[in-house]
């Protein structure tokens, strides 16, 4: 039997599965014949009368749906970042969330392209194998023997892929909370009783190393008085590399690449799952095998796939989203000076006018009335004891503010080296 190889699924004579071609058939046939069939004539006005919404309004509704989708993704992502850092953000308008979602979408595309271009074989071949069953299932005629096997393969691959993504990449990020507040020693503690404790620790350490710019190097840490042997084993594993495996960006670049690769896998699996489950038709055969397949598919479509997709911006917020914050030089209005208290002082020539005080801060968040600022960390023992603090200042309290680049807030904490076990604030 010669199979027609085209992307439109051929209809089997007894097929009852796909109602769409039946609807579209008269419309497609109408232009071909000189005299259109009366059914076709009736069908066109029927469609016009069905749609009670004008076309312009429909466009607006579509745009609103897209905005809502973006805002939803932005909400999940921003909430993830907020919980991850353990700070409060004040901007939750649809506009801000859409901006975050746009950031997420652009970063995702960029990461996917980078990974595919950098490692075409590592990513390309598994993707092709993963896509083979659904492509076969979609392209073969309905009655072909291989369709059932291909369908089974595609559903199985989707299910396994989504479970893997949820368990291995997305769920372990749930435990990464309050990193600025909690302290890193606590993050490095093994999670007793957790099913995925090993994976959670591995992902946590990888995320930490990704922010250790200027701290972690191959086979050594920049923190003085700290031998690598004394560091946690998970960290040692991240810093150790054979000569052939060494990345030009050091362990930091390697950790960032690992996180991006994990995230890319999650995105690709979700995209393929959407393709398979949306475009593949249901079968109406009343056999046990088909019913099981149908049940699995419903489970995957209504539970695993939405969950894995909703977790994508969540995982992005924890693994990929940059924690760089603007470094600003804040100048406060000049305070009134202290009057000279003795005669000698008053006999001196007039002093220069009062000078405004300034401070170097990281701008965490801002709204119309307030700014959330994180002071650049000092090195005195008293300051070190306070791991992290946020100052909320009214805009009226600030005379002037200049931006001077940006700093990674996590990196600022890692540079202090107090996160290592046995390196408390008073030891240095």
């Amino acid at each position: 039997m010669k199979l027609p190889w085209n992307w439109t699924r051929p209809r089997a004579p007894e097929a009852t599965v796909d109602p769409a071609p039946e609807d579209s058939a008269p419309k497609a046939a109408a232009p071909a014949s000189g005299d259109p069939a009366p059914e076709a004539k009736e069908a066109i006005p029927a469609k016009e009368t069905d749609s009670s919404v004008p076309s312009g309004v429909a466009g607006w509704i579509g745009a609103l749906q897209i905005t809502l989708g973006l805002a939803g993704a932005g909400f999940v992502g921003q909430l993830s970042v907020q919980q991850f850092l353990g700070v409060d953000f004040s901007n939750w308008s649809a506009h801000d969330l859409s901006l975050f979602a746009g950031h997420w979408a652009f970063d995702t595309i960029q990461i996917l392209l980078t990974q595919l271009l950098d490692r075409p074989l590592w990513f390309g071949i598994p993707i092709l194998i993963y896509l083979l069953p659904p492509v076969l299932a979609l392209s073969l005629p309905t009655g072909h023997k291989a369709v059932r096997l291909a369908t089974l393969g595609s559903i199985a691959a989707t299910t396994v892929g989504l479970i893997f993504v949820l368990v291995w990449i997305e769920m372990p990020t749930l435990t990464m909370n309050n990193w600025l507040d909690k302290g890193f020693q606590e993050n490095l503690q093994p999670r007793v009783g957790h099913i995925l404790s090993g994976r959670v620790t591995q992902l946590t350490v990888t995320r930490m190393v990704a922010s250790m710019d200027g701290v972690a190097f191959y086979d050594h840490l920049a923190c003085s008085a700290m031998a690598l042997d004394e560091a946690p084993k998970e960290l040692q594993a991240q810093l150790h590399a054979d000569k052939a495996q060494k990345n030009a960006g050091g362990p930091v670049g390697q950790a960032q690449t690992t996180l991006q690769a994990d995230y890319s896998i999650a995105v690709i699996v979700c995209l393929v799952a959407w393709l398979i489950l949306c475009f593949h038709p249901f079968s109406d055969e009343r056999v046990l095998y088909e019913l099981l397949l149908r049940a699995t598919r419903i489970l995957v479509s209504f539970l695993l796939l939405p969950l894995a997709t909703a977790m994508l911006p969540f995982a992005y917020g924890r693994l990929i989203y940059s924690t760089q914050l603007p470094l600003v030089h804040v100048i406060y209005p000049a305070q009134p000076g202290v009057p000279p208290d003795d005669k000698k002082a008053s006999a001196k020539p007039a002093l220069a006018p009062a000078r405004a005080e300034g401070a170097w801060m990281l701008l965490l968040d801002q709204n119309d009335s307030e700014l959330s600022l994180v002071p650049i960390l000092k090195d005195s023992v008293e300051e070190k004891k306070k791991e992290f603090r946020v100052e909320i200042r009214r805009r009226s309290e600030i005379a002037h503010m200049e931006r001077e680049g940006s700093r990674d807030i996590l990196n600022e904490l890692f540079l202090r080296c107090t996160w290592l076990p046995g390196m408390d604030a008073t030891k240095r």
Partner: protein, 271 residues
């Protein structure tokens, strides 16, 4: 009085006068580091490079930092130990950089990042900073210290471990690879020339041959003098006098930081 004695007296008096002139213009005040800041945390070599300090600094003051690429132990123990008796302790690998204070509790020293980047491949460098005030006519040269002045000079040093950001390390790795490739290309060219010259002896006349690479000229190095004729600089601890406030915003809790505690002066022609 014979001629040689007259020459010696004239020389000594000239030397003393020159030393006095130099001494009068080269007194540099050494500043005390705020308490608790003798050793600070790891800093990444990125601009703006900010060093914390307690207290406040008037904007009229011109602060500098002598930046040494060695640890305090190397500077105060190892280097003086290897200096013969009677000679100055010479600190060659150092630079005097401006430090800007703007009443924000942070000293800004962006030039230190460039100085750090000069030592390619050293991902973590232990910098030692000695803060000074006033202009130094010998700011760009090596520092010649009297042995007795070493401890006093470094008594208020600040130790700053500085590390390279990933981008800088990556750039260094690229530079190293480029150098290796260049070296390999040069070696290959040298080899091919060798073989071509051997073959050319049989095929072409000597006139058409490319000239062989000229041997590197031997640079005649000047003999190192056994005695370095320099005036060793001495350090004199001065009596503590609180700095006068140049501005009106004097606050009881915030005293002036970087108070002068010593002076570095030339000792004339003692050597």
């Amino acid at each position: 009085m014979n001629k040689s004695l007259r020459t010696a007296i004239f020389g000594l008096s000239f030397c003393a006068a020159a030393g006095a002139v130099a001494q009068s213009g080269s007194t540099v005040r050494i500043l005390a580091v705020p308490e608790g800041m003798q050793m600070v945390s790891l800093h990444k070599a990125v601009k703006p490079f900010l060093l914390p300090y307690g207290g406040r600094v008037d904007s009229s003051r011109k602060l500098y930092a002598r930046v040494f690429r060695q640890s305090l132990k190397e500077l105060t123990v190892d280097i003086p130990q290897h200096t013969p008796k009677g000679q100055c302790v010479v600190y060659g690998d150092n630079v005097r950089l401006p430090a800007y204070a703007d009443n924000s509790g942070m000293l800004r020293m962006d030039d230190l990042v460039d100085y750090f980047a000069l030592d390619e491949g050293q991902e973590v460098q232990q910098m030692t900073l000695v803060f000074e005030e006033d202009d130094d006519p010998r700011a760009n040269g090596a520092l010649y210290l009297d042995k007795s002045a070493v401890d006093k000079y470094f008594a208020n040093a600040m130790q700053v471990p500085v590390s390279a950001p990933t981008e800088m390390s990556r750039q260094w790795a690229l530079n190293a690879t480029a150098r290796q490739e260049q070296q390999a290309a040069l070696t290959h060219r040298g080899k091919s020339r060798h073989w071509s010259s051997l073959l050319a002896a049989f095929t072409v006349s000597a006139a058409t041959l490319e000239p062989a690479p000229a041997a590197k000229p031997v640079v005649a190095t000047a003999p190192v003098p056994a005695l370095i004729l320099r005036d060793c600089q001495k350090v004199r601890v001065i009596q503590f006098q609180p700095l006068q406030d140049a501005t009106q915003n004097r606050q009881p809790g915030r005293e002036q930081a970087f108070e002068p505690y010593a002076e570095r002066t030339s000792s004339g022609c003692a050597q």
